[in-house]
Symmetry: C2
């Protein structure tokens, strides 16, 4: 490798950590080009190298533990080659004499003996990588394929066009790893059904922003689009339409594999005991009959926690879920349980008396959740739950992940402190409900939120595994999901990946504007930050 010392101008840029109020100054030009999220360490040189689609190769390094059989990497090479050279017509194998200042190869070197090429990403997956280059080739070193995926995205972001349209890359060294392990995006496919195309496009945008968890809030009150092999009547009766508005086992499998190839975990959420109106349509006696005085009103409340059949059902359903979804975690929901219906039901009242629950229906809720947690534990899965389950004092396994979503800033920070003080791991969504929209550059407030900003010890902070950008579906469907999500979710993406002191919104604006145009060029319907233009405007309409 060419020693960096001899490069004519070597710039080590340090990121300011100032906090800015109001909108960003759009005149600032970042010295980091279009990098998003910003890597942990970047050393740019001013030496630019040409890079040519007709001869450029991405290939396995000779020393790499991931060989030709690693289709995850092969897919990624193709994807990034196409992103970098979208109009290239030749085959990438033209072996011409390279210009002395031409970068002609990228060697991808998986350094660990187990590349994990055929595995699934997990919460502890190593996503670190190092990128270095001399004047003829670049090397991307990563312990695992997951880091290589992240590094390929970064490498592709280093390319830029000169005034003749020729592609260039500056001699650069990067050493990078994520600040948080859990960097998620939640999609809600119950309030509106999202066609598979939208889910896949969103997964593609997620990789471009180094997200690694797709939290699939797959069912809820309005509809049950998950086609269960064990209980097909759930979607038959509970989906908006039994054929066109369901996810078949093949769909689910395909989505999981598409995500895996991008280093993204798929964590399904089957939220109970509330948020289950659609479940009741296909599963008799699952929900609590509400009473109006002494007689059933004909409406139904949360899952009925007093029947054995409920637990038989949950046992079978979560057994299936644990087999269909390879991830080590299932999200069990547990939020917003409305006690009104339970209170109205005389059988529940009797049950409460028998169990000495008094008037405390959160005890009944805990009773249910406890049994559900035992069921899920028996499937060898870990679980995530919304914060209410913790707040209600349900006994949790030590490895439970608690999902914070409620309150204002002060309240969620207190909650994070409380959870971590109890020794539980947690991740944050409160400031990142992307379905909530407002006029103007609201990405800056998403960008300013930080999961570590609460009062607690270092050990407490270590229990914060990350966060999730949530896109609830009341007002979102396939017509508006993508522009509403991107690049607003990108702001969350950088917060969760980059160093804590990367907080300069002017610098972020400059990089993010370019990053969003790059997303648009790659076919992602990502909306603009402010008056401006992209060289290639979105024409997908």
């Amino acid at each position: 490798m060419l020693p960096f010392a001899i490069v004519s101008l070597l710039v080590t840029v340090s990121q300011g950590c100032g906090r800015h109020s109001g909108d960003p100054d759009t005149a600032v030009e970042s010295s980091y080009g279009s990098l998003w999220p910003l890597p942990q360490k970047v050393r740019f040189s001013s030496l630019s190298l040409k890079i040519r689609g007709s001869s450029f190769q991405i290939r396995d390094a000779d020393e790499s533990s991931a060989g030709p059989s690693c289709s995850l990497l092969k897919n990624a090479y193709r994807r990034y080659y196409e992103y970098m050279f979208p109009n290239e017509r030749t085959n990438g194998h033209t072996n011409v004499f390279a210009d002395p200042s031409e970068l002609s190869q990228l060697h991808v070197w998986i350094t660990s003996s187990d590349s994990e090429c055929d595995g699934y990403p997990v919460v502890t997956s190593d996503e670190s990588y190092e990128l270095s280059m001399n004047q003829t080739y670049a090397v991307l070193k990563a312990p695992k394929v997951w880091g290589a995926l992240r590094g390929l995205e970064t490498f592709s972001q280093l390319l830029y066009e000169d005034e003749y349209g020729a592609r260039n890359i500056n001699l650069t060294e990067i050493s990078d790893f994520p600040r948080f392990q859990h960097r998620g995006v939640l999609l809600d496919t119950s309030r509106h059904f999202l066609p598979i195309k939208v889910i896949l496009a969103n997964l593609e945008a997620m990789t471009m922003n180094k997200f690694n968890v797709f939290h699939w809030h797959i069912v809820d009150d309005p509809s049950f689009p998950y086609l269960s092999r064990t209980f097909p009547q759930l979607s038959q009766m509970g989906a908006y339409h039994p054929y066109t508005h369901v996810y078949t086992p093949a769909d689910v499998k395909m989505i999981i594999e598409f995500a895996r190839l991008r280093g993204i975990r798929v964590v399904p959420e089957f939220d109970t005991p509330g948020h289950t109106q659609s479940w009741g349509k296909g599963q008799k006696d699952l929900l609590t009959p509400c009473y109006s005085g002494p007689t059933p009103s004909g409406t139904f409340g949360p899952v009925n926690p007093i029947l054995n059949t409920t637990y038989d059902f949950m046992n079978l359903l979560f057994k299936e879920v644990s087999e269909v979804f390879p991830d080590a975690y299932v999200h069990l929901g547990g939020d917003e349980v409305d006690f009104k219906c339970w209170k109205s039901n005389p059988d529940i009242t009797k049950f409460m008396e028998q169990h000495s629950f008094g008037d405390d229906y959160s005890k009944l809720e805990s009773f249910y959740i406890q049994k559900l947690l035992d069921i899920v534990t028996s499937t060898q899965k870990g679980y995530m739950i919304w914060q209410e389950v913790f707040d209600n004092g349900v006994k949790l396994k030590p490895d439970t992940l608690i999902h914070v979503w409620k309150g204002n800033q002060q309240q969620y920070q207190n909650e994070m402190a409380k959870i971590t003080l109890s020794g539980y791991k947690t991740f944050l969504s409160t400031p990142w409900y992307l379905n909530r929209i407002s006029y103007g550059q609201d990405w800056t407030s998403l960008y300013r939120a930080d999961p570590h900003n609460f009062t607690g010890t270092d050990d407490q902070k270590k229990l914060v595994i990350g966060g999730e950008a949530c896109m609830w579906g009341e007002y979102v469907d396939s017509t508006n999901l993508m522009p509403r999500m991107w690049p607003r979710a990108s702001a969350v993406g950088e917060r969760l990946w980059s160093a804590k002191d990367v907080t300069n919104v002017n610098d972020a604006y400059s990089r993010l504007s370019k990053h969003r145009c790059r997303m648009v060029e790659r076919g992602i319907q990502a909306q603009s930050l402010f008056s401006s233009f992209c060289r290639h405007e979105y024409k997908g309409i």
Copy 2:
């Protein structure tokens, strides 16, 4: 015609005029099906007729004054045939024996001797129509083609699918006309360039909602995408990109014709003397040089009103504009003039003294506007201006249209009262800035605003010609314009077309939900109102 009296069940439904606060009740089913905007008079019968794509014909009535040469109608027949029978593979000429309860023809009868088929719509165009049918054919009567276009849209909205997927239509009589003459949508192609595809898609959606004015805010501070034949350097230097981000004369012509075929006027806005930063890039000495103390600062302010060259330029530019745009009106802007730069400039100060303007820079603004109005008047065009021009007391021609956009509800209502008291015509945009977004069903507040809700006499009310939904471009480009515009603009569309007492938001929710799914089926990326589904979800992504 089958007399309506013998139809078994004849329902004349009357629209409630109650005002509802908060979100609509989503359980209400409108008795008006999916009609949007609601016609002035509808009489439904419960008698349903089959309608079959393979044999259904839309044709000129024998008595119609618009014959086979009227390509505007021919285009509309094709368009609505395709909307109504999107999957029809046969040719529509199969002459089979019709079922006795099958509607097999729609006769379009232009009753006035001048159909206006080859003309352009104007503010006084007759858009009224009547629709009636017996058990075998329907008749659409309209004085002019403009009414026929509106009636074809209405007719297409009467079709519905039964449980077998067969198309049906109920025997219906409709008599319809717009409440307001001016029903506009503003697009801003300066803050972001909008590809022609987006403008055309928006024009298509406008017809589906019976809008009739495309207010094209074509240039502004950030960019000048209008390619002027007289001053090509304006876009050469002032557009975001001189080739990819401009509207050529051919583009403009095509957009105007596309709009004409849908009964939509194209009113261009060339906003001066403010909002002209991009103009200055290609036109030397057009803008006022700002001073920092005794020396020019290098920045520029509004159009320089003290130079003769300014008026020479405007003369030539507006001569071209008057030829390129056939509409009888040009929008001249005149909003938000910042006096800071004028105040700093010593030549302006001298000019102010010479003209005894004192310190009142609005007098200088009026001086400029007055000269501009004279120039535009000499091109035989009428003009529209933003309310500031009126507020500043500029002398206006009696036929000037004053565009209200400022203030809160009380303020814009006072402004409407003041303008109409002065005898001027006006139209409203303040409550309809669709670029401003907020969480939830904000269409209901758009829907509740009414241009007649101010204190004034009937004669004053008659001076209100309508309103415009505005989509300013700071945060809107081709990625998010359509879902942000539709169906929110639809709410404005009904307010401007339907009777004043059509204000029931529950009824509107029911119809609008179906109307938006219809727009989606027709390829319009119209977002959802709330948790729900469309039979055919948007898959354009």
